[in-house]
């Protein structure tokens, strides 16, 4: 039992960066077990996503489409994956960590009676019936070597910790799999989704992120952040304080319980750098901090710091970078 299954659900075409990272994670495990990697695409876009997915270094692409999977619910998706894997044997069932997998993967773990590792940063060792992973704990202040036992285990990986899998020379076989109608769980229903419309890159995919905190005072400061973001083609993020104050929607929150990001460049503006925020961005390649408080903890992780009032600094910075780019 050496093979690994990467679950991408709901599947999108093209595959998201996070899902390509999960494939790399799975390949690292398969590299140690000597097994193959299969991909399981689920949801209404599973079939169109299969063709490009088959060019990735994968043995088989399994697709599952069922009307009960039209909208995501943890109950239906967990039941569908359980339905697919029972009868096949996998050493590891993997996926990228997201609110979706945080919702349904534990339920799947219970269905399969398998132990699970959440939000893995690194694969340390894979033996026959036990695997060791590195995880972040205590708001990302410490790392923990976590052992997970079992012939079959589940794991979600932190997308920003793994490179995106690239298409290779081979073409995987594509196999459509039927699941039983019993996957439809009547006692939970999707009602509605309020998505924030983005004309900017998505936070977890962006190369450059500019985040605002309490110091922005809301619209005034975020207006300046948006101007710089327009110039740099950056995504915009927010601290918990900014979201709690109603200045930004919840899905813009970067931090322990929001988005975990690791872009090339992270600019923290008017943001003190509470432990829980650092947990979400401290692995960014370069961190810039602009804050008028020289004691702000954000300066402890910043590569470049500027002690200044953001209302002066941001327009000056935007103008200086605009002329540098010209």
């Amino acid at each position: 039992m050496n093979d690994v299954l990467i679950v991408i659900a709901p599947a999108a075409d093209p595959l998201r960066k996070a899902d390509l990272a999960a494939i790399t994670f799975a390949q690292q495990v398969a590299g140690q077990t000597g097994g193959a990697c299969d991909l399981l695409l689920m949801g209404p876009h599973a079939s169109p996503a299969a063709e490009p997915a088959s060019r990735l270094p994968i043995r088989t692409v399994l697709t599952v489409e069922h009307e009960a999977l039209a909208q995501f619910t943890a109950e239906n998706y967990a039941a569908a994956v359980a339905n697919v894997v029972i009868g096949r044997s996998y050493r590891l069932i993997a996926a990228a960590a997201s609110t979706t997998t945080k919702d349904y993967f534990p339920r799947l773990a219970a269905a399969l009676d398998a132990a699970m590792a959440s939000d893995v940063l690194e694969v340390l060792d894979v033996a026959e019936t036990s695997a060791t992973f590195l995880r972040a704990v205590f708001a990302g202040n410490l790392l923990a070597e976590t052992v997970v036992d079992g012939a079959t285990i589940l794991a979600t990986c932190r997308a920003s910790s793994f490179e995106s899998a690239q298409p290779g020379e081979t073409t995987a076989t594509v196999e459509s799999v039927t699941v039983t109608d019993e996957i439809a769980y009547a006692r939970k229903r999707f009602v509605a989704m309020q998505t924030t419309q983005l004309d900017r890159p998505e936070l977890t995919e962006a190369e450059v992120i500019i985040s605002g905190g309490r110091g922005t005072k809301g619209d005034e400061g975020f207006k300046l952040i948006n101007e710089l973001a327009d110039l740099l083609g950056a995504a915009v993020g927010a601290s918990r304080a900014a979201v709690d104050s109603g200045w930004m929607p919840n899905d813009f929150q970067v931090g322990q319980t929001g988005k975990i990001v690791a872009p090339k460049l992270y600019i923290a503006v008017g943001l003190s750098g509470a432990i829980q925020h650092l947990a979400g961005m401290r692995n960014s390649k370069t961190i810039v901090a602009i804050n008028k408080d020289p004691e702000a903890p954000i300066f402890e992780v910043a590569d470049f710091g500027l002690v200044a009032d953001l209302f002066d600094a941001l327009p000056t910075l935007t103008a200086a970078l605009k002329s540098a780019k010209a």
Binding site: F138, V148, Q256
Partner: protein
């Protein structure tokens, strides 16, 4: 109506946990509290009781005698009764879910509320594992919970990656709390005094059908790799120059 809130004893938030030379946590001078996300769950249960009346709020924890402290904190906030499932070893998520399922079968609550994750291990697996075992519906990351008048179901607003998702669950269900669900109350002095007189049942894990073998554990801790010290720019122009030089923009 009966609401079960499951709480975990965790080091006080913002404690800088330290590692000993044996790669284990130094817990000697650490103070503990109710996991902040579980505190949100207790608060929500109390608000439901205040809105509806005739709701019994029970706080449950799994742990050693030391966890009584956290049950008392929940009772002091206003919970009616507490249950300590006594277990001396560290339990993993599957074991915890198995024990909680046994408590749920014993108590038959209409709703189980808990934090979406514990701030120590940050696994966030209990809700799905418990709901899965019970074959109950689940709703995670709740920023709003609206119970139907007949308490037969609830509409939950969930904070997910793409925005806000609204789902409907039939009760009984397991729901986890997110940061913006509410602001937990401080226990009042009378509340703290009353807490000591409220019922606290202690059950040995063995009496709940025993604990399955553990399958996941932390074997060692490591500090974060250090980041190289940064540079403070004297002017905004200097920062701009450095960003351009480093080809970051």
């Amino acid at each position: 109506m009966k609401i079960l809130t499951t709480i975990k004893r965790t080091p006080e938030r913002n404690t800088r946990m330290k590692i000993g030379s044996d790669a284990q946590l130094i817990t000697a001078d650490v103070k503990y509290e109710v996991n902040p996300f579980d505190e949100l769950a207790v608060e929500e249960a109390l608000r439901i009781r205040e809105a509806r009346g005739e709701v019994e709020v029970i706080a449950v924890t799994i742990g050693t005698e030391a966890s009584r402290e956290q049950l008392l904190a929940a009772l002091a906030m206003g919970a009616d009764r507490a249950v300590l499932v006594q277990a001396d070893e560290e339990l993993d998520a599957l074991q915890t879910a198995a024990l909680l399922a046994a408590v749920v079968r014993k108590e038959s609550p209409d709703l189980v509320l808990m934090g979406k994750l514990a701030v120590d291990d940050e696994n966030g697996q209990i809700c799905g594992m418990l709901a899965g075992r019970l074959d109950w519906p689940q709703a995670n990351f709740a920023s709003k919970i609206l119970l139907a008048d007949d308490a037969g179901g609830a509409t939950v607003t969930c904070e997910v990656d793409g925005g806000l998702e609204e789902v409907a669950v039939d009760l009984p269900a397991v729901i986890t709390t997110d940061l913006r669900l509410n602001e937990p109350r401080y226990a009042s002095l009378p509340g703290i005094m009353k807490a000591k007189k409220k019922p606290m049942d202690v059950i040995a894990a063995a009496d709940l059908g025993g604990v399955p073998a553990g399958r996941s554990r932390i074997t060692a801790y490591r500090p974060l790799p250090a980041r190289q010290a940064g540079v403070i720019c004297k002017t905004t122009e200097e920062l701009a120059r450095k960003l351009v030089e480093a080809k970051l923009v």
